[in-house]
């Protein structure tokens, strides 16, 4: 048997479905908590209903925020689908419902993009094709079957998804800011020195450096250590320690709990049963293999190829990924940047050429404005809205320019957007954002920048 054939056979092997069922239960509960906290914290109102404009994902501009009734209804549906997933009730319908509703809600406004929500969407997508309701489910009670097994492929698929997240998050940390300056971790730790017990330590520089290197090594290696039976237990303990630490120190919502709850998928498929001191009565009495067509594996391979390509795509773009954010989305760049900017917009009259300052406070909420000010794509979207607004006021095809400065990971701020480019005429794309000026790695040595409000003045660099 060839190596590929052997691999194909092992993927089709039947294994107990208990770890997959536990994954499903935890996943459903996390989904429910996620929906509940958005509603209970009033975020439906403040994040989605109150803003007059929403930043759109490229390619998903058609996703809009529905009316309040529909939006609350969608969150209710998400909560219901989450419970159904956890309970394994009507799983065939509940899981796709969860995936579609959750993903739609996330696509409504790019301002709130989070890597772990993206991760949940990906897992939800994969779970739609998996037999996760074989055991410990309402479905199993409704349709009792002796077959409690699942294909090894389903467990391996989820494991690989985890490895991808960790590994690419680690790969992204191999950058000068992280390794040579311990940024942005240094900044974040310094802000948390009042933390009980460990607080005083967090102000020490060596802790920031040690933490940076430890996090990088953790991310790069943990996926592989979880795969190996010899190191799995220690690795999982490290996962718990690492994520409890991040939960204690940083405001990262459910992410640590998601990872702690779902990572046990790396343990043996029957570990939940063993933990309950019950024996596993595998397996399918008829045959010990399931049959997944090769084209199914082909599709899965294609999916993972895309998953590899997305985090690496920035290498094909001649721009600094952290600065321009070209190729930043969907690439597992977790906790890598402390970036703040100040951006003002100017319009130029199409006939007279006169310039004037455009306020954005009526257009954007404070949270949106903060995100926009340091995000080149959001700056272009805002310029487009301003342009449309002026057109509606009868000011014709006014040009829109930006005076934009940003500081990345503790470095001195520098001009981010070329002030000579009319952003109203810029098209968003997956490629290079040509309106973003190149980042200067040593801004301290550059001439002092100056806000001049006049794009006709040559830029300093």
């Amino acid at each position: 048997m060839t190596r590929l054939g052997h691999h194909y056979a092992s993927m089709n092997r039947r294994v107990p479905g208990y770890s997959l069922a536990l994954f499903r239960i935890c996943f459903g509960l996390v989904g429910f908590l996620s929906a509940a906290r958005v509603v209970l914290n009033g975020w439906v109102q403040t994040l989605y209903l109150e803003p007059s404009h929403h930043f759109k994902y490229l390619g998903f501009e058609w996703v809009s925020v529905p009316s309040a009734e529909v939006l609350y209804g969608m969150y209710a549906l998400l909560a219901l689908a989450s419970i159904a997933v956890a309970a394994g009730a009507f799983f065939r319908y509940a899981m796709p419902t969860f995936f579609l509703v959750f993903t739609y809600l996330e696509l409504m406004d790019q301002t709130y993009y989070l890597n772990h929500y993206y991760f949940i969407s990906l897992c939800a997508f994969l779970m739609c094709f998996m037999p996760m309701n074989k055991v410990w489910s309402v479905d199993a009670l409704r349709n009792p079957s002796e077959d409690t097994s699942v294909g090894q492929w389903s467990i391996e698929t989820l494991r690989v998804q985890f490895v991808m997240l960790y590994f690419f998050a680690g790969l992204a940390k191999l950058n000068p800011d992280w390794l040579l300056h311990a940024e942005p971790l240094r900044t974040w730790l310094l802000a948390r020195t009042e933390t009980p017990l460990i607080g005083p330590l967090l102000g020490a520089q060596w802790v920031a450096f040690a933490g940076s290197y430890a996090a990088c090594i953790f991310d790069l290696s943990i996926g592989f250590l979880l795969f190996s039976k010899r190191t799995r237990a220690v690795a999982y303990a490290t996962v718990i320690f690492f994520h409890l630490g991040t939960a204690l120190l940083f405001n990262i919502g459910l992410f640590p709990w998601v990872m702690i709850a779902l990572t046990p998928i790396f343990f043996a498929p029957d570990w939940p049963l063993k933990a309950l001191k019950k024996s596993s009565s595998l397996v399918n009495p008829i045959e010990d293999r399931i049959s997944i067509p090769r084209w199914g594996y082909g599709l899965l391979g294609l999916y993972f190829l895309i998953q590899i390509a997305l985090p690496l795509r920035h290498h094909t773009i001649d721009n600094d990924v952290l600065w321009s954010e070209d190729g930043y989305l969907f690439s597992w760049r977790v906790m890598l940047t402390e970036k703040t900017g100040v951006t003002d917009f100017y319009a130029a009259h199409p006939e007279t050429g006169k310039r004037w300052l455009l306020p954005t406070c009526d257009l954007l909420t404070p949270v949106q404005k903060r995100k926009m000010s340091s995000n080149p794509d959001f700056i272009v979207q805002t310029a487009h809205w301003l342009h449309e607004g002026l057109k509606a006021q009868g000011l014709g095809e006014a040009a829109i320019y930006a005076e934009s400065f940003a500081s990345l990971n503790g470095k001195l701020s520098q001009r981010m957007i070329d002030p000579r480019i009319d952003l109203a005429r810029v098209d968003r794309s997956w490629g290079k954002s040509h309106w973003v000026l190149p980042v200067d790695p040593t801004p301290e040595q550059s001439p002092i920048m100056s806000f001049n409000g006049d794009s006709t003045i040559a830029i300093a660099r």
């Binding site: 403040t46 919502g253 006169k354 701020s413």
Partner: protein
């Protein structure tokens, strides 16, 4: 085939990385500054004294207006006007740290609305209702505070002698106008006392909860939240100064670029430029603390601890902006029309500082701007 990592190799790798990180950490020259201590200094050395000064000058303003009302003359009017300028200066300097009791007590509503309804104020003066501080509190906030007082004690033509003569020649309205000014001054002084007391550990309890003890919860969940709130307040205040005090009057937001002198407040007292200077001084006070402290004791200490050269640059830029504002030939309402370039230059100079503090300062301190309740990752 699955990878088979060895625990020993991982251990060696980790140890190597730790040694490397220790080496790198020695190369960075930074000073650790405790956020709790900074919050303490801000409260004790900046906020409390600033409100005490505001209260003292507000009480003085009340006294000078009462003295003027008892026997109006030009000298007493001038004294009252000077007291108004002094009290307003103290208030303007507190605007960069508008957190805590000043918000809870709605002090701004009581002492400094952005506009005054002069016809409504005229109606009150011409009416028959008994004029006192209670009446001031009951009426629209647009008929009280500094701008209402300015309307009553600064004559439109700038001629104090004529104003005094007019008041004394028409005692039926003159007395009531004086009474109204005295009542507004009393109301403002009371508001100043309230906010000062709230910060006083003896009479109010805000200082205790602002600086939480180990066994009690504070106003902020953490020292970081406290610093973030102060920083965001200062930044929002700076954005307001830029937009409302400079950009709008100078016509920077107008598609024709037409200046709008009507948007300059305190036209009667010609205090527009001084207001901006006082605002800038308030920002410097929050960043650096009073000169008497002999060093940086404000939130700037945190920036200085991270990058002293940046902090120094920041203060230089603030000083440059101050000089640009001071260079505007007054009054502001005239300058926005006849000397627009000087106002715009001041705007750009202050904007440079805004970029520096809003971008570099915020990044260096890891400040969560505004009410960012969403998660991070």
């Amino acid at each position: 085939m699955r990878p088979r990592p060895s625990l020993r190799s991982i251990f060696i790798l980790t140890s190597g990385a730790l040694i490397l990180s220790l080496g790198l950490s020695c190369a960075e020259d930074q000073t650790y500054v405790d956020r709790g201590e900074v919050l303490n200094d801000v409260a004790e050395l900046i906020v409390k004294p600033a409100y005490e000064a505001f209260e003292s000058d507000s009480t003085q303003l009340q006294a000078t207006i009462s003295a003027f009302c008892e026997s109006p003359d030009e000298t007493k009017l001038k004294t009252a006007q000077d007291a108004w300028r002094s009290a307003r200066q103290k208030w303007k300097m507190t605007e960069s740290f508008e957190v805590g009791p000043v918000l809870d007590l709605q002090t701004r509503n009581k002492v400094d609305k952005k506009a005054v309804l002069d016809n409504k104020l005229d109606g009150l003066v011409a009416g028959t209702a008994e004029i006192n501080a209670e009446l001031v509190g009951k009426n629209s906030s647009y008929t009280r505070g500094f701008l209402a007082l300015e309307y009553l004690i600064f004559p439109a033509d700038g001629n104090n002698a004529t104003h005094v003569a007019h008041l004394t020649a028409h005692p039926e309205t003159g007395d009531r106008a004086c009474l109204m000014a005295a009542a507004i001054a009393e109301y403002s002084a009371n508001a100043a006392t309230d906010v000062t007391n709230a910060w006083d550990a003896g009479s109010g309890d805000y200082l205790d909860i602002y600086l939480p003890q180990e066994d009690a919860e504070g106003v902020y969940a953490s020292d970081k939240d406290g610093i973030d709130a102060l920083f965001n307040c200062m930044l929002n205040h700076l954005a307001d100064v830029l937009e409302y005090r400079l950009a709008i009057p100078a016509g920077l937001l107008d598609s024709d670029g037409t200046p709008d002198p009507e948007k300059v407040s305190t036209k009667l007292s010609e205090h527009g430029i001084q207001d901006i200077l006082d605002n800038i001084d308030g920002i410097k006070l929050l960043l650096d603390g009073p000169e008497s402290a002999g060093g940086t004791v404000g939130i700037g200490a945190l920036i200085q601890g991270r990058k002293a050269s940046l902090y120094s640059k920041m203060l230089d830029e603030l000083e440059t902006a101050r000089a640009a504002v001071a260079a505007i030939p007054g009054p502001l309402s005239t300058a926005v029309v006849s000397n627009t370039d000087s106002v715009r230059s001041a705007y750009y100079a202050l904007k440079d500082f805004h970029v520096r503090i809003g971008s570099d300062g915020a990044t260096l301190l890891g400040i969560s701007l505004s009410v960012n309740e969403v998660d991070n990752d």
